[in-house]
């Protein structure tokens, strides 16, 4: 095993975001919110509301900072998710909502505001899918390996590479016995746009584009036996976000 080398890694701002997510696992003591969470946070109604009455799933969404922000409420969890707005035309084959760091600050600010008024929670998570555009597949693979504790020379002819790991750490929030799972998944992705004619009898393809991809799922451990202290929820979320940023900057480190 070798240490990932900082010299071969670009700055944090080179990464773009495909999605940002905050998941709140509700406490069994939490009553399901009956009001609009979107309206509570933004002070105005959402653009869309989707409801599945039989299963009790409700989703609200609207535009947010060039992407589409949705909140999905289920009996056991609330998911806030910022994704690519499919209604906006784009010529780029790489689906991005913008620069990761800038968006993250805006997203985290909103989420910490919601956490100040959220119901009791059992777990909290920050998730993201991040992309780093590259010219070629081989350079993307080499770039990815600069974040991982492997010797790049051993992967010169490798294909279909996928690396996933959880590196748990103790929380620095001052809550005793609270562990944080630092789950990351690393891969190289090839993208292209396919344009179909209206009758689907013909289509055209764009040139291939390549990205390094990191999928982050930074979350409080289910082994923590109590509800998370309400007054510490914003602080915990900030810690999860910082741990995510650390992985994107430093790579897979213990």
């Amino acid at each position: 095993m070798i240490e990932p080398t900082a010299a071969n890694r670009p700055e944090l701002k080179a990464w773009i975001a495909n999605s940002l997510r905050m998941t709140a696992i509700l406490s069994p003591a939490a009553q399901l919110p009956k009001h609009s969470l979107w309206e509570e946070l933004f002070g105005q109604p959402p653009e869309n509301i989707t409801s599945q009455p039989r299963t009790g799933v409700q989703q609200e969404d609207g535009s947010f900072e060039g992407g589409r922000l949705s909140v999905t409420v289920q009996p056991a969890r609330v998911d806030w998710m910022l994704t690519v707005d499919n209604n906006q035309a784009t010529n780029s084959p790489i689906p991005s909502i913008g620069q990761f760091v800038d968006l993250l600050n805006l997203f985290a600010d909103k989420m910490t505001r919601w956490l100040e008024m959220s119901p009791p929670l059992q777990r909290l998570a920050f998730g993201s899918i991040l992309l780093l555009p590259m010219d070629e597949e081989s350079s993307a693979r080499q770039q990815l390996l600069a974040y991982l504790p492997f010797n790049p020379q051993n992967f010169e002819n490798a294909q279909e590479f996928l690396y996933q790991i959880n590196r748990p750490r103790s929380s620095t929030s001052g809550i005793s016995n609270l562990q944080i799972n630092r789950l990351s998944k690393w891969s190289v992705i090839k993208w292209k746009i396919i344009n179909f004619s209206p009758n689907i009898s013909s289509y055209s393809e764009s040139l291939d584009s390549f990205t390094c991809c990191i999928e982050l799922d930074i979350n409080t451990s289910p082994d923590y036996q109590e509800d998370l202290p309400k007054e510490k929820l914003p602080q915990i979320f900030r810690e999860l976000v910082d741990l995510g940023k650390e992985i994107v900057k430093e790579g897979d480190i213990p």
């Binding site: 069994p28 003591a29 009455p53 056991a76 998570a125 998730g127 748990p168 891969s187 090839k190 689907i200």
Partner: protein, 217 residues
Amino acid sequence: MIHNMHKNCTAMTSLSKLDFRVNETWLPTTECELIKNQSPSIYQQVSSKTRDIRVEHKKALRPEGVESSTIKQDYSKELSEEIYSLFKASDEQNFEDGMETEFSKKLICLIKEYADEAIEIITGIIIYERVNAEVATEALRWLGNIDHAPSYRFRLWLLERSLSCSKARIRDGAILGLSSLNDPHAISYLKLAIEQEKCTELRKDMEQVLAQLESIS
């Protein structure tokens, strides 16, 4: 316009859009539906894979669960329909304490096969009180009796959550389920439920289970 993603990996990714695509077939009809809806979508392809997703059983196609992951897994409409129909079909059934029925057998099979995916659907049905309280109660009793580790946390969560359901019969089922599960984790939620319980008989039952759990903690 469709985003076509050739992902160089062998495991399924956790993106919900990808899960959707992976769980579906690659038949042109599905692509047509997406185009009709004019919604860009992401396609996953792994060139060296030999598994044919049109042939294998649907369950085998789900991404392998990572215990620490919080990514939402979309459950199938078919499974949701199957579980909902099972509860509805048992509306008129008379249940006896501890006696196996077609309902309980089928319920156990579904939980053992689909784990959290099944519990998530059952949670919606019980918490939103979409079915007869007797059937919900019977389901909660069995949720505490099943020997199935992968669904344990979510079953415990549902039993604890059901202590605050509006129907007394459902709360009764939750007490019985928690008694069987015998996990001290439920202590704080039982204490909360005892404070709020207006039915004397139920409150006594809760106190009895609380004493049982405190004796082992």
